[in-house]
């Protein structure tokens, strides 16, 4: 809030109206529709519907396919978050150390940000193509009986690998800027107080990066939930047998492929609640201790 503000009746509404109108039409109204439809059961032809309370929820959520997708989503998000954060932190710390060639490294490590997830997916897909994919051949040649079309773990490996690859650059950018934001004086004081660079990292640098790390965790979980849609859709499409289906991918499959509007909406509502929880956690923590 500015100390001095304009006080006019109509002008601010005119400024804010475009965004609000679009939000109401394309965000709030559809979201309300999703909630409404989650309580309806349509017949097979979409001609009539009846109000069924929470039946869609109990039908879609307490069934094996949804629970399998939920399980995969949790494992998948954890792996993607942990691996891409870890890798990005390592690279950022190293990139922050070098002086010669620093900007070249930086550029090479961050440019993949610009690549769309489905494009990354297709590229990965081709690398693992049984006919030509070197990675496919490589995995088999070192003794794995690798087949991501049939083996759920191999399929999971492929989507995790591509998702991590795609996310490292964002995390790298934030970690590097976080590292560069640590005051030089603090680093120099630490240099005089502590000889071991490993110890210095874990006792000084890493705690000071806590806000960045926490923020990135939320971003990465959101990414693994939602934005990996494009990767899954261009690689495994949830196969084999739903083993790589995330919750978001399932909403899409049930709604558009399966035309189960009620069930898909119920799943959407559950996802909304998850996003809400994530957002609340994010704001709680950000307002609390994690900031220095």
């Amino acid at each position: 809030m500015k100390r001095v503000q304009f006080e006019h009746s109509a002008i601010p509404y005119m400024f804010i109206a475009p965004q609000i109108i679009i939000i109401v039409v394309f965000f709030l109204w559809p979201a309300a529709q999703a909630v409404y439809q989650s309580f309806l059961l349509e017949d097979a032809f979409g001609l009539s519907s009846q109000f069924v309370w929470f039946r869609n929820y109990s039908d879609t959520i307490f069934n094996d396919a949804w629970l399998q997708a939920a399980g995969f989503t949790i494992v998948f998000s954890t792996l993607v978050t942990a691996l891409s954060l870890g890798l990005a932190l390592l690279l950022a710390v190293k990139a922050n150390e070098v002086i010669r060639g620093a900007s070249t490294y930086k550029t090479l490590l961050m440019w993949a940000y610009a690549i769309a997830p489905p494009v990354a997916g297709l590229m990965g897909n081709l690398m693992f193509n049984p006919l030509i994919g070197d990675l496919y051949i490589f995995m088999n040649s070192i003794g794995f009986d690798f087949d991501h079309k049939l083996d759920p773990y191999d399929a999971g490996f492929v989507v995790v690998l591509i998702s991590v690859w795609k996310q490292v650059s964002v995390n790298f950018i934030f970690f590097l800027s976080g590292l560069q934001g640590i005051p030089k004086g603090v680093q120099e004081a630490a240099l005089m107080d502590c000889k071991s660079s490993t110890r210095r990292f874990w006792t000084i640098t890493f705690p000071l990066l806590a806000p960045t790390t926490f923020f990135l965790m939320v971003i990465n979980i959101t990414y693994a939930f939602f934005e990996t849609f494009g990767i899954i859709d261009t690689t495994t499409q949830g196969a084999p047998g739903g083993a790589t289906t995330t919750l978001v991918y399932k909403v899409f499959q049930d709604g558009f492929r399966g035309a189960d509007i009620g069930g898909s909406s119920a799943q959407s509502v559950v996802l909304m609640i998850m996003v809400l929880v994530l957002t609340v956690i994010q704001f709680r923590f950000i307002e609390k201790k994690v900031h220095y």
Binding site: P18, F27, A31, L91, K94, Y113, V168, G230, V269
Partner: protein
């Protein structure tokens, strides 16, 4: 200054290879003949078929899709990227200006309405959103493609944060200088936000260009495909089998889909990093 150990450089080189090699291989492979690729697998060095492949993909009807060429898709992607970026900057600057610089009764509730968009990613309201756009007759239109995407809160929060960092005294000085609400916005705030606008334009161009789910469901006609959607189609063609799989075209298309946003990010790297880091505060 301490000497940088060699292991640091090794780790960084391995990281850089990990991030760049796949794209390089995709490019190299795209310049070979399909027979070569099928016989020898992925290629690490460019081959002789660069012009042939890209010419066919970009300009020959039926080269990648049934009707459209990659040039059409490139144009569609460009419209989506640029339209999304500009639209987003305009509506979010206006909204942020209202929120930061005016005291009005619905200011706080409307701020929360904008905030709520963070809780409603497209994926959780995809079917009703599709229905809304379909009912408005906006399927397969540029407006239907772009407008529903530009209203999310990120841009508004970004400019709100920036406007709050503008010293109060500037507004006070401008008021003593007789500037109106619109005058202050156009004469002072917009020129002052130049670098911020550039940064957000770059990021939003990339985000818009890379949109996948929304264009996927709301474009039905081939001539409206963006490159990123075209990728999905070529993937399906590859999977259907048939004659000789045209891997080089699939790779060429991924390169084409990658090139413009990558170039933008590389050319404007400094602004892009600044915008990205600042926007998430």
């Amino acid at each position: 200054m301490e000497r940088v150990p060699i292991s640091t450089h090794i780790i960084l080189i391995l990281g850089a290879l990990f991030m760049t090699l796949p794209v390089w291989v995709a490019f190299a492979t795209s310049t070979h003949a399909p027979e070569t690729i099928l016989r020898e697998g992925l290629q690490f060095w460019p081959g002789p078929h660069f012009f042939e492949t890209y010419n066919e993909v970009l300009f020959v009807e039926g080269g990648v899709m049934k009707k459209v060429t990659a040039t059409t898709m490139l144009k569609n992607s460009m419209i989506l990227g640029v339209g999304f970026a500009i639209g987003k900057v305009i509506i979010s600057m206006l909204a942020a200006y209202a929120i930061v610089y005016f005291r009005f009764r619905l200011g706080v509730p409307l701020f929360w309405v904008i905030f709520m968009t963070l809780l409603l990613p497209l994926e959780v309201r995809i079917i009703p959103s599709y229905e809304v756009v379909a009912n408005m007759g906006l399927l397969d239109t540029k407006a239907g493609l772009i407008i529903p995407l530009i209203a999310s809160a990120t841009g508004t929060f970004f400019f709100r944060q920036f406007f709050k960092s503008v010293p109060d005294e500037l507004l006070e000085a401008a008021r003593l200088d007789g500037a109106s609400a619109w005058g202050f916005f156009i004469d002072i705030l917009v020129p002052l936000s130049k670098t911020m606008i550039a940064a957000i334009l770059i990021i939003m161009f990339v985000v818009g260009w890379n949109q996948y789910l929304w264009p996927l469901i709301m474009t039905t006609k081939e001539e409206n495909y963006t490159l990123v959607i075209g990728i999905k189609q070529i993937y399906q063609v590859l999977n259907e089998g048939g004659e000789l799989p045209q891997f080089q075209k699939a790779f060429a298309l991924t390169i084409l889909a990658t090139l413009p946003p990558v170039l933008v990010v590389l050319i404007f790297q400094r602004w892009f990093v600044k915008g990205l880091v600042e926007s998430e505060k």
